[in-house]
């Protein structure tokens, strides 16, 4: 019964998104324009460090097609739900609060992935001279990509649950988004960073969101089970922390709704 509820939620939100046509088309345009901007810039710069133009352009193609959506921003809607008392209505439902918010966001993610897959296949074909196709790394890439999706939800839940303890989300939203984006390779590939800096960043969970899966695809890093232990450990730790956070948060939560 729960699964049916979550699927219905996804379908409803999808319909709402489609209803606002300009917003819907903006979703489509968003990443194409960003990719075009990076494409013209890196076509102009040429090779940077160990990465040639094709590798950089393929990096940004994959980034804009899938990984741009995996930068764990704070769910600002959760903050406004808490402030307006909207959480009361959800708490009375026989569902898990965290799953509920994941399902609400999952619709956006599925929507973006499906849409971007179609669009960026066309973009890839039209720029086939610049795009690297590595069939043999795809299975490993898919494993790293799946881990990055789980890590994304864990980090997003972690940042969002601060809503129980702080009043305003502005600073937290900006900091969490920007730090994650920079250290995960959402602005520049970590591969071109200085070596020491690169090693330090790779101990944190962030590069496993973007830089690691794309490096696996490009073949600039090999798929290593030992290295996978780092993101998997973070997933386990964050699952426990999020559970504790959620329980503690609900204890301090006070409904302001009418």
């Amino acid at each position: 019964m729960n699964l049916k509820f979550y699927i219905n939620e996804i379908i409803t939100f999808f319909r709402v998104s489609y209803f606002y046509k300009l917003n819907f088309w903006s979703f489509i345009l968003q990443n194409i324009l960003m990719f075009a901007l990076f494409f013209v810039f890196f076509k102009w710069t040429g090779r940077i460090g160990t990465l040639n133009s094709s590798e950089i352009i393929t990096y940004y193609l994959l980034l804009m097609a899938f990984f741009q959506s995996l930068i764990p921003a704070v769910d600002t809607g959760f903050f406004s739900k808490i402030r307006s008392g909207g959480l009361d209505g959800i708490l009375t439902l026989p569902i898990n609060l965290n799953y509920y918010f994941i399902s609400m966001h999952l619709e956006v993610l599925i929507f973006k992935f499906l849409l971007n897959s179609i669009i960026f296949i066309f973009v890839g074909f039209s720029l086939k001279n610049y795009i690297i196709i590595n069939f043999h790394t795809i299975p490993f890439f898919l494993i790293a990509f799946s881990i990055s999706i789980i890590l994304y939800f864990e980090l997003r839940l972690f940042f969002t649950q601060f809503a129980f303890f702080i009043e305003r989300e502005g600073a937290l939203a900006s900091w969490s988004y920007f730090i994650t984006m920079f250290f995960s390779g959402g602005i520049l590939p970590i591969m071109i960073f200085p070596t020491l800096f690169k090693k330090i960043i790779y101990v944190s969970p962030f590069p496993y969101l973007i830089d690691y899966p794309i490096s696996i695809y490009l073949g600039t890093q090999t798929f290593d089970l030992k290295r996978l232990l780092i993101p998997l450990s973070y997933i386990i730790i964050l699952t426990v922390v999020n559970k504790v956070f959620s329980e503690k948060g609900l204890k301090v939560y006070m409904g302001y709704g009418g």
């Binding site: 075009a36 460090g49 502005g170």
Partner: protein
């Protein structure tokens, strides 16, 4: 009377920031980090080169600083009002502005000013001391004029996008793209060629904003200045036309 209203709006903005002082300070700190990261972006790229196709690190940083100053001015005065347009139309608050006897659009644009952002202008200005291409004293007032022209380009495009809320109600994603794209107005204009020039200079004038002062001090290019004035005027007129034409069709959602 309108001056008093604007003064009151400034006071409200300051008081809001005082209430959430911790958040305000963290946001200020964040914007400094944001500027540093933009510089770091080019620092990492320039670690592998001394000059990229004729452009030095200092020249590129001058564009970054200029872009930052223009964004700070835009965010302080106009961004809040433009971003709220969607919710004003959806929730019916737009009606309040329509009932105003005069200076309706001016008050609407400045309604959500964010004065805290103005403090941030100190940091790019400090960097400007090191990374400026000024040779003569009159270069400074000239730079201010070009900054204002860049702001005019940014404002007119933002105004046009915000005006679409009257027709489409939800324009938040479009505004998100707009803000995201303009945060990359830090790239030198020479990267935009052929179709990219049409997209990122003419249709979305992000290639103009910070490049107007840069192009002038770099090559005294008057072409970009004229282009900036024409494109800004077109977007202002389009925005105004949308207001006039679609206000007749606007239906209030307010109670």
């Amino acid at each position: 009377m309108v001056v008093n209203t604007i003064k009151a709006l400034i006071n409200i903005s300051i008081e809001k920031d005082k209430v959430y002082i911790k958040d305000t300070l963290l946001l200020l700190l964040f914007d400094i980090v944001n500027l540093l990261i933009q510089i770091l972006f080019f620092k990492i790229i320039f670690m592998h080169f001394n000059i990229i196709k004729g452009f030095s690190f200092n020249e590129v940083i001058f564009i970054v600083i200029t872009a930052q100053i223009i964004e700070i001015l835009y965010n302080s005065f106009f961004m809040g009002g433009f971003s709220s347009m969607s919710s004003w139309v959806a929730m019916g608050k737009f009606d309040y502005f329509l009932l105003l006897p005069q200076h309706r659009e001016l008050i609407m644009n400045l309604y959500e000013m964010n004065m805290k952002n103005l403090i941030e202008i100190i940091f790019p200005l400090l960097l400007l001391v090191k990374y400026n291409p000024f040779k003569y004293f009159w270069d400074i007032p000239l730079y201010i004029v070009f900054i204002l022209l860049g702001l005019f380009v940014r404002y007119s495009f933002g105004y046009f996008i915000a005006s679409l809320a009257v027709i489409y109600t939800r324009i938040d994603t479009l505004q998100m793209i707009e803000n995201m794209l303009f945060s990359y107005s830090i790239f030198p204009y020479v990267i935009y060629k052929q179709i990219a020039k049409w997209i990122f200079v003419v249709i979305i004038p992000l290639g103009l904003v910070a490049n107007i002062p840069f192009a002038y001090f770099n090559s005294h290019s008057l072409y970009l200045i004229f282009l900036a004035m024409i494109i800004s005027s077109v977007y202002l007129i389009l925005g105004k036309l949308i207001y006039i034409k679609f206000l007749k069709k606007y239906q209030s959602a307010g109670g």
